[in-house]
Symmetry: C2
Subunit: 415 residues, 2 copies
């Protein structure tokens, strides 16, 4: 935030930032400071920490599969409560504020309850509130269908609400306040020397998020990228600047690797001795896709006997179901053997600099080899390299890569 400039800012405060009335008061104090500086503010809030889970478990105590429409009506109360309480707190402090629900703005979505997509946001009411000098406090995570039914945007949906509002309002900045200080070069619980990354491109953040970094929801980043909304991820509990996520610039290209991430939520399925004939891949993956199971990485290895070995990863929670399907397919197509493995991890390095620098991937492989970590699978994108390894090596691999790519050492330009 540049000094003295009056901006329109959308802020989002997560569940831990509004966990109780004292924390809500802290949020209100911060909002008040921004108002004192002359900024217009739209504040998006999550449910108080634990509340969404409490509501979900009430519904799931009734049935494992509650109707999505009523489930959304139920869980959306969490954000409704926080928005009301924050608005009341602001008013009490002498800062006019108005709480708004998804249907009141409205934030129009499709009818995919529990994971609705935003289709349109009307900005008239928000703009009217801002022009009256009020803070607009918006219940995150929720939208409304044309029919007036409440929808929710899926886990982490409040991030999406904030970014979407920032896009619709053409805000100068979208600040995501959370319980960590920003995006780190690696998980600080694993790498003691992990550092906060000052600046990332949307693409890097997308790759980091899909590779396991949990700071920001992928959909929110996608939205920000499409509408070019600058995001500032920072801590509710400190004044330190966090991580700015914005369009790629020259500075970024200088950084070879921005961060190292890991993901332990996947499992591996291997199918040995697959007849190497056309159409066999479809036979294997169609029934998996039909069940809505997301396949992440796929490797096919041709053998000398004209057959092939096929290995792929699925979310760990879907392993059992996927194995059942694959065992049936294996019998059908005459494959030799099926194997499932939960004890894997995916370690990734992400950096915009990879576009212009070669040798990053091979340096990753060498580093892992040097530490005795066997690589089972590899996948790459323009700005990311991921390796599937044995789960027990996760911490070792993350630390080794963090050091190897010079992330332990603070760059000179940081004070």
């Amino acid at each position: 935030m540049s000094e003295g400039e009056e901006m329109l800012i959308v802020q989002k405060y997560g569940g831990t930032s509004v966990a109780d009335l004292e924390k809500i008061r802290n949020v209100a104090r911060r909002v008040a400071r921004y108002r004192d500086e002359g900024h217009d503010l739209v504040v998006v809030v999550s449910a108080m920490a634990g509340e969404t889970d409490r509501l979900l478990s009430l519904a799931h105590e009734i049935t494992p599969e509650p109707s999505p429409r009523e489930l959304d009506m139920l869980v959306s109360t969490g954000e409704q409560v926080t928005a009301s309480l924050l608005a009341i707190t602001l008013q009490t402090m002498g800062y006019p504020a108005e709480a708004l629900l998804g249907y009141q703005i409205p934030i129009l979505t499709n009818e995919l309850f529990t994971r609705a997509r935003i289709q349109d946001i009307k900005t008239e009411r928000l703009k009217a509130i801002l022009s009256q000098g009020k803070v607009a406090v918006v219940a995150g995570f929720q939208g409304v269908t044309e029919n007036g039914d409440i929808t929710t945007l899926g886990r982490g949906g409040s991030d999406t609400t904030a970014v979407a509002l920032a896009a619709a309002l053409k805000a100068d900045l979208c600040e995501i306040f959370t319980d960590v200080e920003g995006v780190y070069t690696a998980d600080p619980r694993i790498v003691a020397k992990a550092r906060k990354i000052p600046k990332l491109s949307y693409e890097e953040m997308l790759e980091l998020a899909s590779a396991g970094a949990k700071v920001l929801e992928i959909r929110a980043v996608e939205f920000a990228m499409v509408y070019k909304v600058p995001i500032h991820v920072r801590s509710t509990f400190s004044e330190a600047p966090g991580t700015i996520i914005t369009e790629e610039d020259e500075d970024m290209e200088k950084v070879l690797v921005s961060g190292v991430t890991y993901n332990r939520n996947e499992a591996r399925i291997s199918l040995y001795g697959v007849p190497d004939v056309p159409g066999v891949a479809a036979k294997i993956f169609s029934p998996i896709a039909e069940r809505g199971i997301l396949v992440d990485m796929i490797i096919q290895t041709a053998r000398t006997d004209g057959k092939a070995d096929l290995t792929f990863t699925v979310p760990r929670t879907n392993l059992r179901e996927a194995l059942k399907i694959i065992e049936e397919v294996a019998r059908e197509i005459g494959a030799e053997r099926v194997e499932g493995d939960e004890n894997i991890a995916k370690v990734s390095i992400v950096g915009a600099g990879m576009r212009t620098h070669s040798g990053v991937a091979s340096k990753m492989f060498e580093t892992l080899a040097k530490h005795g970590v066997n690589i089972m699978m590899i996948s790459t994108s323009e700005i990311k390299v991921s390796c599937v390894i044995e789960e027990k090596y996760t911490e070792l691999a993350v630390r080794a890569l963090h050091e190897a790519f010079g992330l332990d050492i603070p760059p000179e330009e940081e004070k």
Copy 2:
């Protein structure tokens, strides 16, 4: 409910009836039984017992005077949660259901947040749901302004929601399910021989409610009276018939006194030696009214010295404030002395039969005198007599009147 006849019924379940998931399941079972009998059902629910108070206390922890608009947004989540959970429970039991909020119907109100008045109810969506063979589960207590803001109807507002929906839908019956079996001849905690009243007129119920009976909200009864909605007040926890509240009929006129009630929430203020000149009453009561303090009973006694003594009652919670005002007025008009008394109670007898029978009031006074209970103030309506007495005599007076008017003895027509 007559056997075999298919009806449109609006049911309302109070907070204790939906206090937890097991109780919600019980409600769902009852609703299912009505559906099996072929009735169309609109079910209005309150917040789970304790939830409204929990939400209110959150807001009041922030400030003693939270903004009414945000307060309504906050507390309305209580009913939203119950409506969702009941709809999910019904669906799980195989009974199609749809939960609806005030704004979705919509139930249009004025903008008097926290005590809004219903102005219009659209019935198209409700009728569509019913015609699809679904149960409409409605969040009680809440409405919406033209502007789309959530309002609430004041304490006990779910009763009003139910009666108003019954009126709008021209329902055959409005059943109010609560934690007592109906309206009693007296508070069963005080009078062991108190009996359930099988039938009451709207007027009697109104007088009973305003005299202290807490079973039904006054506004709901007024609504029912205007739109001639028959109400059945009964217990969620039993199958016993409760109390039917309907238009006055011949049977009712035979009953001299239907019930005895008491109210310990008032306080008395006496102003002695008031100069008996025109305009003095206005000088006394205008500043009280300006503060929104409701004066219930007023007695003025002329003295031989040309002055007068004035006694009136106010809600006990307003006594201190009212005394302060009156002491100032007393100085101004030159009254002799002001006295406040919290230790009073109002005991009332109510009965449609009073219209055609004389001597009811004098029998009440005699009964109280016989038991040594001094009467401080008296007020009467067509079908009610109220006496203010010392609070310590409350139970004695209620029991004595219950016996004196023959309410201890079950009438012959009851089985």
